[in-house]
Symmetry: C2
Subunit: 307 residues, 2 copies
Amino acid sequence: MVEMRILFLGTSAAVPTATRGLSSAVIIRGGELLIFDTGEGMQQNFIRSGLGINKKLKIFITHMHADHCLGALGLLQTLSLLGRETPVEIFGPPRFAEFMKTNVNILSFGLIFEVRISSIRSEGVVVKERDYSVSCCEAHHIFPTYAFCLSEHERAGIFDIDETKRLGIPEGSLYKKLQSGEDITYDGKRILSTWVTGPKRPGRKVGFSSDTRPTDRLRKFFQNCDLLVFDSTYSHEQWQKAKDRLHSTATEAAILAQAAGVKKLLLTHFSARYADTAQLVKEAKAFHNNVEAAQDMRFVEIPYPDI
Amino acid sequence: MVEMRILFLGTSAAVPTATRGLSSAVIIRGGELLIFDTGEGMQQNFIRSGLGINKKLKIFITHMHADHCLGALGLLQTLSLLGRETPVEIFGPPRFAEFMKTNVNILSFGLIFEVRISSIRSEGVVVKERDYSVSCCEAHHIFPTYAFCLSEHERAGIFDIDETKRLGIPEGSLYKKLQSGEDITYDGKRILSTWVTGPKRPGRKVGFSSDTRPTDRLRKFFQNCDLLVFDSTYSHEQWQKAKDRLHSTATEAAILAQAAGVKKLLLTHFSARYADTAQLVKEAKAFHNNVEAAQDMRFVEIPYPDI
């Protein structure tokens, strides 16, 4: 079991409001942080969150609009000033590397840790870790923009302690091996992991749309997400604006989430015209039964689908 | 009489804290805004302040550290998205123009108003307006850094209505001329302004140190300021750090202010180590009798010296 939560550091579209900062969200997964977009000023909420400066950290940049990427500079500088020692990995559009290089030079950044920037040039798997991967899919926005999905690998099945004891295996490291799917030999006998563990259990899948129109491609990409964070810049009353500016309405987010079999939908990236996001949630709920509005500095738990 | 107030949009040094944003302050003088430094994220407090998006606006950048200049990008973009129509004037180091140009290109800014950037290459007068000027002086910091001073011209003396009436001048535009120092001819007689107005009254002088060690040059530059905003990154216990990093302690700020005949001293640019700035004010008060700590989103009135 790995605990996973998401914290929104900014939920406003284009311009900040008195209560909403610019786009940024962080997934806290075990001891690791995965930040999706770094809108200007997100470092202040990052500091408020107390998430720490030395955790394993990956940053994903969806596109090169200032309200989605500018904050990376300040965040990295602050982590440096606060004494971070471990590398940071950043995945973003090719121009992000140019953006960093130019500004590190002009602003004379003194980074004391390694920043590894990987340029995303096509759809596919961006990160492969032992127990999860992150992949990307083209979104439909003004700039070249990518949506992301974090998919955990299957977990081991439920471990049957009673059966393992009955087989005479002593507690300890052999239990651990069996539990994690490894077959063992004990007392000259071959013991298969499948004898003492149930069927493999699904991992979690979390999606981030970034700024986008709803598309078939994204619907497929987000298929069966346990949690989907989706562009909800406008109410459906402003549908024409959403179309013109290549964003989505709350209704469109909900229709896509419903069609994709998404379990929980979090609306975000709200236009400053909505002081209260309740109306956006209300219209989305007509199409999806589990919708909430993201909120700056609010944590949302991401439970396993089978628990 | 022109009302003048200062509002701090950020008072933290280098890294933001939960309650303090990065360096930025705005002088509201009549209908005009003069922003001194634009630390990352200052636009959110600017929006919170409700100061409006179409006022005459000048921005002064002291140096090219990210925590003093990065926020200009987001501010300009936001003003553009909110529909500003009037030009913005920016005065800063030569590299600021390069910083703007590069990022406007990489981030595809669509500015809908004119941004006039003037590069500061030496000390002297930066802005000359009808009733005030802004000048700059070299500070002593890591980067080439400038401190600024806003100096109002002398105001007309007190207008003697009774005497003007006694001279038989009819109320209206002639009063206004006499009051503002202009001589008039009425009913064939020459009437000198000095007959009906007292001696000229001093304007106000407001200084901004930016990041700096205290220097003789700055002491002279800030001579007789009505209000001085000065680098107070550290308590005097951290004097060695202040020296190494080319900042000032609260004590040093107060000693300089006292020697310069400054009427009121506002400490700012606090290291994140000081959750409470009371101790900095306390140590400064040993050397200057009118000291306060600047605070995010707090207005400070700047009265005329003779009122």
